[in-house]
């Protein structure tokens, strides 16, 4: 690999960067989509967290923007084998959104405008590892990349970071999402190369 990408965090990244197994580095941001791009106006956008007991917690766009904002810089890894380093985002930590929500659920299903979904353990949305992001690289998150807002869970393969996310269902039992019902791994850790079921 001859590509040299200076790390945004100041880490030296000369030569071959430390990529998960089977991944290659791309300077682009490929657009992947399983369907048409939904058009979601901010005026009607909402984000809903529902619990295993049926409680619902809702945020309008303005309410979400009024929450404490964070600006994570993270590496992202797509299961189609591209990785992109040092991507910069702005949004709300899932810790902030989950704060005060009464739940003993172990699992979460992110669901999106347009019908997409992806499951992950609720614990992976906590501890500063997941965000609801609305800004990419200093500008509004473009619709083709999941705007107005998407999930960002960079320690898992990027299909878990649901575009056009509308809400998260907290559940006692695991429930596979769009790609997880069609052969992809339930957890999807890029460092253990968990691409497909059985990996």
């Amino acid at each position: 690999m001859g590509i040299v990408t200076p790390g945004f965090e100041g880490r030296p990244r000369a030569g071959a960067p430390n990529l998960p197994p089977g991944q290659y580095l791309t300077p682009d941001f490929p657009v992947l989509s399983a369907g048409p791009t939904p058009k979601v106006p901010r005026e009607t956008w909402e984000f809903v967290i529902s619990t295993e007991t049926g409680m619902e917690y809702r945020w309008s766009w303005d309410e979400m923007m009024a929450l404490p904002q964070e600006a994570p810089t993270v590496d992202i890894h797509c299961v189609t084998r591209w990785s992109k380093l040092g991507t910069t985002w702005q949004g709300v930590s899932l810790d902030t959104l989950l704060d005060g929500i009464d739940t003993v659920a172990d699992y979460a299903l992110a669901h999106s405008y347009g019908g997409y979904s992806s499951n992950l353990p609720l614990g992976d949305l906590r501890d500063g590892r997941a965000w609801l992001v609305h800004t990419y690289d200093g500008g509004d998150l473009p619709a083709e990349h999941g705007g107005p807002a998407r999930l960002l869970v960079p320690h898992l393969y990027f299909w878990k970071s649901a575009k056009w996310v509308r809400g998260i269902r907290l559940m006692s039992e695991d429930s596979p999402g769009f790609w997880e019902t069609a052969g992809y791994h339930d957890y999807g850790d890029p460092w253990r190369e968990q691409r497909y079921q059985g990996d």
């Binding site: 490929p30 992947l32 399983a34 369907g35 189609t80 790609w179 069609a182 052969g183 992809y184």
Partner: protein
């Protein structure tokens, strides 16, 4: 209007030909969501994705998904109530 990033169902011939022994280029599928029967060649296939997603041209719901791992494949047809294939005339069976 921006162009939607899909291609027509003719692109499924190769990937599905790995799975099926029949020719799918002339098959018809019925959408489980809206009930429309469409030629497989007329489905809207989203291929810039972790798998192939073929959607009904009428209601745009998912009819077929194909995920190809190096040594395995998953075919999900829950969005189609049938696939119909033209077949050669059945010959009289002699027992």
């Amino acid at each position: 209007m921006t162009a939607l990033p899909y291609v027509d169902g003719n692109m499924l011939d190769g990937p599905l030909g790995e799975v099926f022994a029949v020719d799918l280029s002339t098959a018809t599928g019925r959408c489980a969501h809206c009930g429309t029967a469409s030629p497989v060649a007329g489905l809207r296939v989203y291929s810039h994705a972790p798998g192939l997603v073929a959607r009904c041209p009428t209601c745009v719901e998912v009819m077929l998904r194909l995920v190809r791992a190096p040594d395995r494949a998953w075919l999900d047809l829950r969005g189609a109530t049938f696939l119909r294939f033209p077949m050669p005339p059945e010959r009289t069976l002699i027992r």
